[in-house]
């Protein structure tokens, strides 16, 4: 009798059910810092309008729920929520105010993107904190830009979209979807398991500091050991 309406209603109720479940999870895991309705407290910022993408990023990478609001920055850790639970949480937060949605696979999939363009964009926008190839770097007062090694394309995309913690956000108006893909493709090329280091050991990819340490310890260290060895072998009269 109400067939079309029924379907709409079913969808709507499924949606509200998800939000309902999300709210329950929120109350248990997040409300103590972010407030009962996501309005924020002195321990955590307001979540109104941060969008589903922010929730997906923060919870999937284990940053949220943070163990404590102390410390300079919330570190990445093991995620304890299932994807379904994260979706429910994201739906609840999204219901509080409009914000960026979780990107779909065809948005962040780096297949066919321009790696070289991505490199240029990365050096222009990201390297000043994350290092040339995304090895991470220090910020003020114990804060840091984390290493991007092994971060999933989806999470890199979400981070650019939402600007977690100290990171500025790069919405599509500032950096197009294609450019984000290029950056993800570049990072995959230069900072992943498949990256080739034609010169040998990468030594952390941190530049001259680690190279200098290596030269002193293994280069000069080995040569001094060799010198001691050579000096110990001298042309003495044969003992017997």
């Amino acid at each position: 009798m109400f067939a079309p309406a029924d379907k709409a209603q079913a969808e709507e109720s499924a949606q509200s059910l998800t939000i309902e479940e999300g709210k329950k999870l929120y109350t248990v895991g997040c409300a103590s810092c972010h407030g009962t309705d996501g309005q924020g407290t002195s321990d955590g910022p307001s979540l109104v309008g941060v969008g589903a993408a922010a929730v997906d990023f923060q919870v999937s990478t284990g940053r949220m729920p943070a163990a404590t609001s102390q410390g300079a920055q919330v570190p990445k850790k093991k995620n304890i929520y299932s994807q379904a639970e994260i979706d429910q949480l994201a739906a609840f937060i999204a219901s509080l105010g409009a914000g960026p949605n979780v990107p779909t696979k065809d948005q962040y999939d780096p297949e066919g993107a321009d790696i070289a363009k991505g490199g240029e964009l990365f050096r222009n926008n990201c390297a000043q904190c994350h290092n040339f190839t995304g090895k991470g770097g220090a910020l003020t007062k114990g804060k840091y830009a984390p290493s991007l090694e092994g971060v999933e394309p989806k999470h890199i995309y979400e981070a650019m979209l939402t600007g977690p913690q100290n990171m500025p956000s790069f919405p599509d108006t500032t950096m197009s979807e294609q450019n984000k893909k290029d950056i993800i493709a570049y990072l995959h090329a230069v900072n992943s398991d498949e990256t080739e280091n034609p010169g040998g050991l990468e030594l952390g990819g941190l530049g001259p500091v680690s190279e200098g340490l290596f030269a002193w310890i293994f280069g000069l260290g080995a040569l001094i050991a060799v010198a001691i060895w050579v000096a110990a072998r001298t042309a003495k009269a044969r003992k017997s």
């Binding site: 070289a116 290092n131 050991l201 990819g205 190279e211 050579v230 001298t234």
Partner: protein, 545 residues
């Protein structure tokens, strides 16, 4: 005529080929007397005397690999689009210098290995010079007659720093470009002349289109040319002065105890060259250095975190990083103290170690030649000064890598910077005091060993129940070695009135010298070494301590 000549030479019989070649060469070069005098030249044996060789060989390796690199490198800042083998830079605009460096790395046979040998050898060359210099310093080998050679060595170290820096800048990558930008900033901070020097060096506004070509001439011709000359002079002086040796029985200020140059040292040194080459080649084959492809081409609007120079410029980087960003504005001109003071300190720190030998010889007033080395403990003030200097240097290195200390030890970069600022002042003072104490402690230990012998570890119980440890007397050789050093007496100002009772003017420099001399050789700065009388008195006491 010609017939008679051939008969004559035939009648004398043919000399062996080697002799004929030697004779031919001697007739033209006069090498016989030279070789005769020097082939049996004696060198003493100690591993630390080979540190200079490490430097020499790595320098040779750098020259050889550098020549190979010049065959393929284009020192030009013309903009080109990259279409080589490295995919993540395809189609990027870059300078020809950068593109040819990529070409060397990916498309020239053996190019990357040679590049890496060149760069690793440079880091090791500088590290070797640093350690060699410290060996010379702590053993007092810089004393007369070797002061000038000390300065030659110091100049080699400083020129090495700048040769390294100009070479590091050549690929025109984002990292080295940031370093050149840093240098430009340091030059600009110089009052009045800074702007002019910068415009002169870069041919206009930074970065311009000239600096790679200019740095190239400096890097491959000017600086290495001067260095090569200095290396030769350095070695000639080592030959001329003869090598120093550690004190020991049979070793005097007038002899050298060791092995002859030929065949022993030729074999050793020749072999050691290949060992040095081998170690550097192995390192270059297994560890990547300066991967310019990952760093990307330089553009003045880009910068990366973790941008540091090679280690030998690290302390200069540190000075700038931990200096507060002070500046003064005067009549529309800005004096950037935050950069200018570090620039001055850079020179002061380097000069401090360079002039030290002259200060010490002024304090001691010693005009004699010294060919016997000091043990560092027997020159506590010098040793303490050296350790304090190294402390300042190392504090600079820590400051230069403050961001990596912060990320790798989970510290706040501000805390690291403050630690370094305080250490810059407190570190050398503490290091000086602690080192001096340790030296004096070691002197006491030596004295104790000479007078009471070595602890044997054997415990004996006497009939009345007392336990004593048996001390074994040292061998005469060991006792000689431990007491061979000479101890200066602090210089006195002398009578301030002359024989007629007229007061003499005491110059301020004289007072300073007496004061310094007292701090060098006063009772708080050295333990009087054991005398024969003391030894006899103790050893005649029938084993009772």
């Amino acid at each position: 005529m010609s017939t008679s000549e051939t008969t004559e030479s035939r009648s004398r019989g043919k000399a062996p080929a080697g002799e004929r070649v030697a004779d031919w060469a001697d007739g033209r070069l006069g090498i016989y007397s030279l070789a005769k005098a020097n082939m049996r030249k004696i060198f003493p044996d100690h591993w630390s005397f080979m540190l200079g060789e490490v430097c020499l060989y790595s320098f040779i390796i750098i020259i050889l690999t550098g020549v190979y690199l010049t065959l393929f490198f284009h020192p030009s800042m013309n903009e080109v689009e990259y279409h080589g083998s490295y995919v993540p830079l395809q189609g990027q605009l870059m300078s020809e210098a950068f593109s040819s460096t990529l070409h060397i790395s990916f498309d020239v046979r053996g190019g990357l290995l040679i590049r890496q040998i060149h760069h690793w050898a440079a880091l090791i060359f500088l590290a070797g010079m640093f350690v060699h210099m410290m060996r010379v310093f702590f053993t007092g080998a810089f004393r007369k007659p070797r002061e000038i050679n000390w300065l030659f060595g110091f100049l080699l170290f400083v020129l090495g720093m700048f040769t390294g820096f100009t070479g590091y800048s050549l690929p025109d990558d984002l990292l080295s470009g940031t370093g050149v930008r840093f240098t430009e900033g340091a030059i600009l901070s110089m009052p009045i002349v800074g702007t002019y020097i910068s415009f002169f060096l870069f041919g206009g506004e930074f970065p311009g289109v000239d600096f790679v070509a200019r740095f190239y001439s400096i890097h491959i011709l000017l600086l290495p040319g001067i260095m090569l000359g200095l290396v030769v002079a350095h070695l000639i002086l080592v030959f001329y002065h003869k090598h120093t040796q550690f004190a020991g029985p049979g070793k005097t200020n007038k002899n050298v105890v060791g092995m002859p140059l030929l065949p022993v040292y030729m074999a050793k040194a020749g072999g050691f060259f290949f060992l040095v080459f081998g170690v550097i080649a192995v390192i270059a084959a297994i560890a990547q250095i300066n991967p310019v492809w990952a760093i990307g081409p330089y553009r003045p609007d880009m910068v990366s975190t973790g941008a540091q120079p090679d280690w030998y410029m690290g302390f200069a980087e540190g000075l700038v990083r931990y200096m507060p960003g002070w500046e003064i504005n005067l009549w529309g001109h800005t004096l950037v103290l935050g950069v200018f003071i570090p620039l001055v300190l850079f020179g002061v720190v380097l000069a401090a170690i360079a002039v030290y030998p002259f200060i010490e010889s002024w304090v001691t007033g010693d005009k004699r030649e010294h060919h016997i080395l000091d043990r560092p403990r027997n020159a506590p003030t010098r040793t303490a000064f050296g350790v304090a200097w190294i402390t300042v240097y190392m504090v600079g290195l820590v400051g230069g890598g403050n961001d990596l200390w912060a990320t790798h030890f989970h510290l706040s970069i501000n805390a690291v910077t403050w630690f370094v600022r305080i250490s810059f002042f407190a570190g050398p003072v503490l290091a000086f005091i602690i080192t001096k104490r340790i030296c004096l402690g070691l002197q006491r230990r030596d004295k104790d060993k000479v007078l009471h012998g070595r602890e044997s570890g054997i415990i004996k119980r006497l009939p009345h129940g007392e336990f004593i440890e048996i001390h074994e007397p040292l061998s005469q050789d060991a006792m000689y070695t431990l007491t061979a050093h000479e101890q200066y007496k602090p210089a006195e100002i002398g009578p301030t009135v002359d024989e007629n009772g007229v007061e003499r003017k005491v110059k301020a420099s004289e007072k300073l010298r007496a004061k310094l001399s007292k701090s060098y050789y006063g009772p708080d700065s050295q333990i009087p070494k054991p005398t024969v009388d003391e030894y006899k008195e103790i050893t005649s006491g029938h084993g009772h301590h």
